[in-house]
Amino acid sequence: MMMTRRQRRWGLAGSAIALAATALFILLALAALLASQPATTDGWIFSAYTFRILQFTLLQAALSTLLSTGLAVPVALALARSSHFHGRLWVLRLMALPMGLPVLVVTLGLIAIWGRQGWANGLLLSLGASEPISIYGLSGILLAHVFFNLPLACRLMVSALERQPGESWMLAAGLGMNSVSVFRFVEWPALVRILPGIAGLIFMLCVTSFTIVLVLGGGPAATTLEVAIYQSLRFDFDPPRAIALALLQIALTGLVLALLATMRRPEERISTLGGARIRFDGRTLAKRTWDTLWIAMAVAFLLLPLDAVVSAGLQADLGRLVTSAAFASAAATSLAIALASGLLALAMSIAIVRGRLTVAETQGAGAGAVAYGRILGATSSLVLLVPPIVLGTGWFLLLRPWGDVSRFAPVLVVAINALMALPFVVRVLEPAMETHHARTARLTASLGMSGLWKLWHIDRPILMTPAALALSFAMALSLGDLGAVALFGSSDFVTLPWLLYSSLSSYRTADADGLALVLGAVCLILAVVGTSGQDSNRSRRAAG
């Protein structure tokens, strides 16, 4: 028995509270929406149209997931191996940027490189191509999805590889393993444990993709379920249909996630002395060239569109922009919302992961306990699939009888943003907490350590780094997010993305470009703070 009864009770109670809060938040919204309107659905929900967009939704999401995770593997391996490479940490920080930028900003950046008049076509035409290549269609959607999700996958994979105990690399070097063997016995086992989780997350993100699909899809042949949900709540104002479509989306994606979950293997319990992790492999010229090539390609792929965003932003009258009152209040609102939702997501994720660890720990756990563990895992993932439109509409209806909904707006936006960040945060924290627990639980239990003392002396030094990373993930997500804020956005409650879109919708493109640059800079700062622990780890390692 590795947990005291007290710890176990806390693990179960905390996760139960997190689970109940999440479920209530979603179910109340759905119930309010269903109760509000008589079923007015005219026309079949499961029409040929629905079937066609369903097909397309799943196809593009599956391909996007495959490409994003597949291409992330060599990049992550190269990054993990190149501990000697000085810019490495900055590459990882660069990878945090796409997530924190509004989708439209990134899309316009991608078009500046890959579009009809883009840089890539300019190069091709000057090389003698007769016609510009067009990315509009499935290829454009895939390109954008890889741009957003490859960095995400990469960062999670690099973390997994870095959790491998230093002994593994020493042993591999001692046994004189070649790179194929290292991959087979050390790297692949580390990756394969987290691949289903990463793939599931990316799959969900791509299923619910909206702006990218419409802007880069080239026409209505490219339509996702999310578009149909939005459509049914917009001109048609048909809540029952919207909910039916949302449930269809949740059910089908849930099926895919369940399939992926069966492939997930628990984190291996390897004991380690916790010594320095030094990579001895990958020092041959060929290997180094190979790694450099992959890293360079990934960096170029990410940097070029971001560079387009930056250079457009520098054209703006930044001085006037950042000194305006509207900017100051929007920035303050954005940061407050991001911090609050980040912390909430972190707290809920810790509770959920502890609950799962407790269940996993319970010897001879009954079917009920196993099911509870599964439900915890599923809930933390599936929240991504509930469209914010549905949540917002439901809560609007619920809160109206209590007067002015605007008083609740900040709380609701924080709650929705925190929920949307949950799957990311859990994926960053869970493997780290699992490994940490496996390594320290027996020892701390036998020494009778518990409570705050254990938290400070045993957990903090190890879990601080993943927690900071998770928090920066969640905050970046919340910063770039427009959806939840737009639910309650008004002249008194304006965030940076809202200000950006507001400028864009009034011809003020230059201001919007400037705001995009500012958002990017804030995300970079967050990424630097979020990875600062890794910096000190690295210097310790270098010193050792």
């Binding site: 702006t211 080239g218 209505p220 459509q231 959806g483 737009a486 879109y501 919708s505 011809y507």
Partner: protein
């Protein structure tokens, strides 16, 4: 302008403003976000109207006209609005069907919009014609008719908006329907080769256009005025189409549930005066619906003035919108 903010239009149906705690009378106006932006007409309109009454205007802004209607449907009889400003003719029938609007009972003699608009419930405050705006640097000779647009060189692309999610998108759908009638699907099939992509809202499409990705975009005849006045460039111009241009008329109306009906009526009256109309052209970038006391900036004289205004009966639009969108989907998705 019922500019569509990208993928948040419906969402901000729930945008809220704080009702005033002031002692004096308050007029709560639901409108769209670009009306109340610091550079929009809202701040000036508020200042001007408050001079004429011992009252305070409270704006509650949502993303656009469609979001306004959804917001009203959600709130029903419990709505906090005294007045709604920012619906358009395509939404008028559905808005009336909510039973929330009350006839204004005002003399609308000052109103002059092309094609005429007279309604006992809604009063126009501005209008604009949809138009293909083109980049003179990338396209020296624009199409001169919808027919030329449909049948022109497919290598010269245009970006349009999705009628499922945006009002300009719906506008183009109705424009093509007005001109081509039953042949609309064939026209769409033909035009499809020219369409670079279909965006969820106006902002994305216009962003692609000003970034130079595409030489033509569906927007308004008044769009070039912004570039001429605010950016001092003649680069972006609207193409005049010989078949005529589809019009978007923006409307305001008062609610039966209002506690300040006198104030609401006074505002509607004020809306038809030069004090209000003078503000519209260079803040909302639309044409005034009633006389102004100051001449419009010179740029407005150089805009395309459609000889023929197209507008479908709102009832007909409400009845056929879904069928026509399905028709559009089929024509645009067929392999």
């Amino acid at each position: 302008m019922t500019r569509t903010l990208p993928f948040l239009c419906f969402l901000s149906t729930f945008a809220i403003a704080y009702p005033a705690m002031a002692q004096e009378k308050t007029l709560t106006i639901y409108t769209y976000e670009s009306f109340t932006a610091e550079w929009g007409p809202g701040p000036q309109v508020k200042e001007e109207f408050e001079k004429t009454c011992a009252c305070t205007i409270e704006f509650v802004s949502v993303a656009d006209g469609v979001a306004l209607l959804s917001r009203l449907k959600l709130e029903g009889q419990g709505t906090g609005a005294d007045l709604v400003l920012g619906l358009d003719t395509n939404l008028a029938t559905e808005a009336k069907a909510t039973g929330l609007f009350e006839p204004h009972g005002l003399d609308t003699g000052a109103i002059a919009v092309p094609g005429g608009y007279d309604d006992e419930v809604f009063i126009p405050y501005d209008y604009g014609h949809f138009a293909v705006v083109y980049d003179t640097q990338a396209m020296p000779t624009p199409p001169k008719s919808l027919k030329e647009l449909v049948e022109g060189d497919p290598a010269q692309k245009i970006v349009i908006q999705d009628p499922r999610t945006s009002t300009p998108g719906l506008g183009l759908l109705l424009w093509v329907k007005s001109v081509y009638g039953d042949d609309a699907p064939a026209a769409w099939t033909k035009l499809r080769d020219r369409i670079l992509t279909v965006t969820p809202g106006w902002s994305e499409a216009y962003g692609l256009f000003t970034k130079g990705e595409v030489p033509m975009v569906l927007s308004y005849t008044t769009s070039p005025a912004y570039h001429m006045v605010a950016e001092d460039t003649e680069r972006y111009q609207a193409a005049a189409f010989s078949e005529g241009h589809y019009i978007q008329i923006e409307l305001a109306g008062m609610l039966t549930t209002s506690n300040s009906k006198e104030l609401a009526r006074a505002f509607l009256d004020f809306m038809m005066t030069p004090a209000f109309q003078n503000i519209i052209p260079t803040t909302n970038w639309m044409m005034p619906a009633a006389p102004t006391s100051e001449p419009l900036p010179d740029a407005f004289n150089r805009l395309v003035k459609p000889q023929n205004t197209l507008l479908m009966d709102p009832e007909e639009v409400a009845a056929h919108r879904r069928a026509w969108i399905d028709e559009w989907l089929t024509a645009m998705s067929a392999r």
